[in-house]
């Protein structure tokens, strides 16, 4: 069981001709946490991950794992496990044989292959030719491949794509187990916020190759204000104003205080002699926030800068 290393992206840039796929991107992925790497399709997520894994040469900037360039790792599969695209299997080779080929590059025994096929729940299917696999099976096989060398860092590109709800729930639990119980560093990309919302601890959002926002999920979820119900909202509003907390009326006669400090609101109500019927921190509408952050036009649609689907 290997605990994770820190992944650091510093000033990473990739140009394909005149097209800037990734533009001066910097962020950090911390060990023992699951980081969601979010952005609409074509935002540059896959290009970033491929640069991190030494598959694409950056125009400038660096991407390191535990301070090292992926290409300098002597036994990379034991440091980083990556599942990039779940479709990358030879259709005539069985899933098990695909893993055996990978295992052979690192001298990993076949027993480890079978162990992982059990763990990802595809031991029987894995002996059939990969051409007949469903998307969900490919995802599980790709995950098994990533875990082959028991790496401390996992990099998964859209791992929930094509999984059924049961599969998504399984993946969620599995990733949590790997990060919380085993301390692995996990970076999960997705173009759908709700897919990772319940799983990730940290979020990095990019759009059009540029970093839009990064922070913990808790920070992202905060900022929605505090909803408070009391018999006399106007008096409470005045009491809050005294403590320089702005507020405004909300639905159903409630008051929305524009702060994250539950305690300050409670104390203001107490000082004003008002009973409190409800006091809740209101989560920001993440979906709206995500759409808002990544708005401003998808560069891959409409304006002629197309033909980059393969790299983005």
């Amino acid at each position: 069981m290997t605990t994770g290393a820190r992944v650091e992206i510093i000033g990473l840039t990739k140009r394909f001709g005149s097209f800037i796929a990734v533009d001066d991107l910097s962020f950090t992925v911390r060990p023992g946490r699951i980081t969601g790497f979010l952005g609409p399709n074509g935002a540059g997520k896959t290009t970033t991950l491929r640069m991190l894994l030494g598959l694409i040469h950056p125009t400038s900037g660096t991407a390191t794992i535990g301070g090292a360039d992926y290409r300098t790792l002597p036994h990379p599969l034991q440091v980083v496990g990556a599942a990039l695209e779940a479709t990358n299997f030879h259709p005539g080779r069985s899933g098990r044989d695909h893993l055996r080929v990978l295992a052979a590059t690192h001298g990993i025994p076949d027993t480890r292959v079978d162990e992982l096929l059990e763990l990802t729940g595809i031991p029987a299917f894995a002996r059939r030719r990969a051409g007949a696999y469903s998307m969900g099976m490919r995802q599980r096989l790709a995950l098994a491949a990533a875990l082959l060398g028991d790496p401390g860092v996992l990099i998964l590109d859209e791992p929930a794509n094509g999984l059924d709800p049961e599969g998504i729930r399984w993946l969620r639990g599995f990733l949590r187990h790997l990060s919380r119980d085993q301390g692995k560093t996990i970076l999960v990309s997705s173009h759908l916020l709700q897919e990772v919302e319940q799983t990730v601890d940290d979020v990095v959002i990019i759009a059009n190759g540029v970093l839009v926002k990064q922070g913990t999920m808790a920070e992202m979820q905060g900022g929605g204000g505090i909803l408070v119900r009391t018999p006399d909202p106007d008096r409470l509003a005045a009491a809050l104003t005294e403590r320089s907390i702005e507020s405004g009326p909300d639905r159903g006669g409630a008051l929305l205080a524009l702060t994250d400090d539950l305690r300050a609101v409670g104390e203001a109500a107490y000082a004003a002699g008002l009973p409190v019927w409800e006091l809740t921190s209101k989560a920001a509408d993440l979906e709206a926030l995500f759409l808002d952050l990544t708005a401003g036009g998808n560069r891959n649609l409409g304006d002629g800068v197309t033909g980059q689907e393969g790299v983005a």
Binding site: L84, E85, N88, F89, H90, P91, S94, L102, T105
Partner: protein, 267 residues
């Protein structure tokens, strides 16, 4: 390094391609040995040989030709394996997992080269089992000397080298022409049709016949194994010079191909 080679060999032996090729190589070896053994020992043909354009040669050349008769098909099969070894990786995008496992790409490609040479030697041995067993029996039955000289052994060993070098030519083609089907058609078309026609044109001039034609891949291949000659006027390289020439062709195609693979973005 050894691990990279082992993984590459495992890649080949975990798809159906390998045993189809094995059957083809064995059958081609046996069938051509039988055909040539009958053809080159035919008295009526031998009498009118030479000017009539019928291939001629001494006992050694005949035995060489019989045992390596399947080679003309064999080396194209190796060319195919070379093209497909890398072509499949591009087509099914497994090149990504190959370079994730071995990010030092030159090492990964060297693993492919060594694996191709091993595979070619294995197929070559299989082809020889077919051609020598069938050919020796056929030559004996026709009253010809089945093993006229120790040179035969050298020829048999060199035929393995020929197959390995053609596999590397295929590897180079497979990288330089990323579309697998196009690479196969161009490779086989060039070896079987374009080069012989080009050879005829080149041989029309004395300079071409003496200084250009012998260095063509197929001509060099025939010189290495010292097969029968279709025209006694043709200039032939010594076996070692021919081997170097074919190795040069393999390096010319595989070298830039590997260099390109090491540098390119895999997306």
């Amino acid at each position: 390094m050894g691990a990279a080679v082992k993984a590459e060999l495992l890649k080949l032996f975990t798809t159906r391609l390998w045993w189809g090729m094995a059957i083809a190589v064995f059958v081609a070896g046996a069938a051509f040995a039988l055909l040539f053994a009958v053809l080159f020992t035919s008295e009526s043909l031998a009498e009118q040989s030479g000017p009539g354009g019928i291939p001629t040669g001494d006992a050694v050349q005949i035995a060489n030709s019989v045992y390596t008769g399947g080679l003309s098909v064999g080396y194209l099969l190796m060319l195919t394996i070379g093209v497909m070894q890398i072509g499949m990786e591009y087509r099914h995008k497994t090149i990504t997992s190959t370079f994730l496992a071995i990010p030092r790409r030159a090492r990964a490609m060297l693993g492919k080269v060594v694996a191709l040479l091993i595979v070619a030697a294995m197929y070559g041995a299989l082809s020889l089992v077919g051609s020598v067993s069938v050919g020796a029996i056929a030559l004996n039955l026709r009253g010809a000397d089945a093993f006229p000289s120790g040179e035969i052994v050298r020829t048999l060993a060199l035929s393995l080298l020929v197959l390995g070098l053609w596999a590397l030519i295929g590897l180079g083609l497979g990288i330089l022409i990323p579309n697998q089907i196009a690479a196969l058609l161009i490779g086989i078309g060039t070896a079987w049709i374009v080069e012989p026609l080009l050879g005829l044109a080149i041989k029309a001039s004395d300079f071409g016949r003496d200084h250009v034609a012998p260095f063509m891949p197929t001509e060099a291949t025939n010189a290495i194994i010292n097969a029968v000659q279709s025209s006694p006027d043709d200039v032939r390289l010594a076996w070692w010079a021919a081997a170097l020439t074919l190795a040069g062709w393999a390096a010319l195609l595989a070298g830039p191909g590997i260099w390109r693979t090491v540098r390119q973005d895999i997306s």
